[in-house]
Symmetry: C2
């Protein structure tokens, strides 16, 4: 939104950090997505179907959340036959933790 006006203020150079923090925090800023991340970490990897089973949400809805998490870079999914195995991107998680911690 409006990526045209920021020449007027000193901008404490945390601009990039703000954007990254917002993006990563946004990914877990929903109970279902926080839960998904927790599930993936507990099992270290998980097939989509198992996640759906634990969430009392429609499969399509879960898939949407997974997409959001994937777009934020927080998780990755690799195709294993007809299934898809998701796992947490530890680097991204580390970046999230760092951005939060530096507050």
């Amino acid at each position: 939104m409006t990526e045209s006006e920021q020449r007027a203020r000193p901008v404490p150079k945390s601009d990039r950090a703000d954007a990254e923090l917002a993006q990563l925090a946004w990914a877990v800023a929903h109970p279902a997505r926080a839960r998904i991340v927790r599930i993936l970490l507990a099992r270290s990897a998980c097939v989509c179907g198992e996640i759906v089973d634990q969430l009392t949400l429609a499969q399509s809805t879960v898939s949407q959340h997974l997409k959001i998490l994937k777009e934020a870079g927080l998780i990755e999914g690799e195709i294993e036959g007809p299934k898809v195995c998701y796992c947490v991107n530890q680097q991204a998680l580390a970046r999230l933790k760092a951005r939060i911690e530096e507050l």
Copy 2:
């Protein structure tokens, strides 16, 4: 949304944690709000007007973001004469960090 069916699965008892994480993360899940928190931490306290000056956003918009941060418990504001001085609630910030760190 359908708060009636969760007797079927073990539910890793992180239910509360998910909600709290989502709420706190949500507060900083926007560049402007992340920025506000950073500004407040840098100055340890700040009058609303100064925040508006640094954000290239309308005063009403900034006020909205401050309200969101306040509702999430992340910041507090006390009235000082005609001005309002905002500061970060360190306990809430600590809770946010803890919830993120335990991921």
